[in-house]
Symmetry: C2
Subunit: 94 residues, 2 copies
Amino acid sequence: MIRVVVPATVPVSALPRALELYRELVEETRTETGCISYELLQRADDPTRLLLVEEWESRAHLDAHTRTPHFVRLVALLDEVEHAEPAVIYSKVL
Amino acid sequence: MIRVVVPATVPVSALPRALELYRELVEETRTETGCISYELLQRADDPTRLLLVEEWESRAHLDAHTRTPHFVRLVALLDEVEHAEPAVIYSKVL
């Protein structure tokens, strides 16, 4: 199993639009094979700072996810309203 | 419910010691009231970069956690072998 963390920063004015896109991304992604969890978090001290936290059965499932039509479409739209840092892949140690 | 994310960097030479301390911290913390999950992740591309990912029923439960003897003792010992960034508190949006 692998974890993926993707920090993103969204201007306040673009938050409603970004959350709308994330909602669609989350709903579609959770139906994908191998998706264990896929959640969007928001910093308590700064609502413009979001964190996508994902858990996948394998790297292959994650890679397949990034090739799905909804991922490609929605990430392109999100890129117009947010600055996302590169995804970081983790494994669980404890 | 709240989430807490704590990034930390550990020199390779100190990893065994840090993981030993984290193991104790994780085992003790998971028995605490209000602790939903408490996991240590390690970056796939850089084993010196760790990430503690926590979920608590409330801020009060988290605050109580930081006052427990094991937390105080183990974090002090971890501080000797790692550089931890400040904990960041999130709420789940989606």
